[in-house]
């Protein structure tokens, strides 16, 4: 584990506030191999049993040739992955996102996240602001399989 992931716990609140974050900052997550088990668990948790994700025989004749991960599973995994590639923000709320699914994530693919601070915006309240992150999910061949922007409300320093 990297030192910066351990130190904050020992030295109190090390979350980064709105004024600490610079437009253009970049983050990169570790990789994670998406497994059949991930897809099965996600189908059970979400209730999304679409044949795209659950019927290996049906999918043999599809354009993908095999089962693919739920798009929202990839989105959810990248969200967790990126928290392992950056110091946390002093997040007040996740406001929204705009997202594109550009290619399939197949069983055994290893994905990672590249992100960049795309913008910062003041709000009506002086104690907070909105940070927009541009994120790309890449597979082991460097192909972008998902990308989009997420908006979070981040506190200023007290």
């Amino acid at each position: 584990m990297r030192a910066h992931a351990i130190l904050p716990a020992m030295t109190g609140d090390q979350r980064r506030h709105f004024e600490d974050i610079q437009v253009g900052e970049e983050y990169e997550s570790p990789g994670r191999t998406v497994t059949e088990a991930d897809i099965v668990i996600f189908a059970g948790l979400s209730g999304d049993y679409n044949v795209l994700h659950t019927d290996a025989e049906f999918m043999k004749s599809s354009i993908f040739g095999e089962r693919i991960a739920h798009g929202l599973l990839g989105l959810s995994i990248q969200s967790g992955l990126l928290t392992r590639g950056m110091r946390p923000y002093a997040t007040i709320a996740f406001l929204g996102l705009r997202w594109k699914f550009k290619g399939p994530i197949k069983i055994g693919d290893t994905i990672r996240v590249r992100a960049k601070v795309a913008g910062k915006k003041e709000t009506g309240k002086p104690d907070r602001g909105i940070v927009t992150l541009f994120r790309q999910v890449l597979n082991q061949r460097g192909e972008v399989v998902q990308e989009g922007e997420t908006d979070v409300m981040v506190a200023r320093r007290p």
Binding site: I41, F42, L45, G47, D48, N50, I77, T91, R98, K100
Partner: protein, 143 residues
């Protein structure tokens, strides 16, 4: 699988709304979601009962499967925009309402924009957005 088992592009009616059954979001959902994704809830100003924002979105997709009638013949989920309006807390009961907003035929299938709102037990819209789907056309043999 036969054609009759699926709802195709031609079957979708613009403006038609479907409401899903409801589901109570539990600690078990949160524990599974956090374990699966590593996405710890960090919203809600330290309120531990607030579930990760993406969880109700994911559950709303599964709820769509429980609407009576054949499931939509989705070829691909192309993208979406989504807003988190109100926190969902453990114990809240959510359902979603979906409306076909637009449909556009392509050579292979058609592009459908679906509006979706996720409600809680008080009738408040907690999350809302627009999803873009590529939906299969009815196979010629079964038309």
């Amino acid at each position: 699988m036969t054609a009759a088992d699926l709802c195709y592009f031609e079957d979708l009616v613009v403006g038609e709304m479907h409401q899903t059954p409801a589901i109570t979001v539990t600690q078990a959902h949160v524990t599974q979601f956090v374990g699966l994704t590593g996405d710890w809830p960090d919203q809600g100003g330290g309120d531990d009962a607030v579930v990760p924002g993406l969880l109700p979105l994911c559950i709303s997709s599964g709820l769509g499967f429980r609407v009576p009638g054949p499931p939509l013949a989705v070829l691909a989920f192309m993208g979406f925009e989504w807003r988190f309006l109100e926190p969902v807390r453990i114990g809240d009961t959510i359902l979603s309402r979906s409306t076909t907003l637009t449909k556009r035929a392509m050579r292979e299938g058609g592009v459908v924009v679906e509006g979706r709102d996720v409600y809680n037990q008080r009738g408040e819209v907690t999350q809302s957005g627009r999803l873009t789907l590529l939906v299969a056309k009815r196979p010629a043999a079964s038309a």
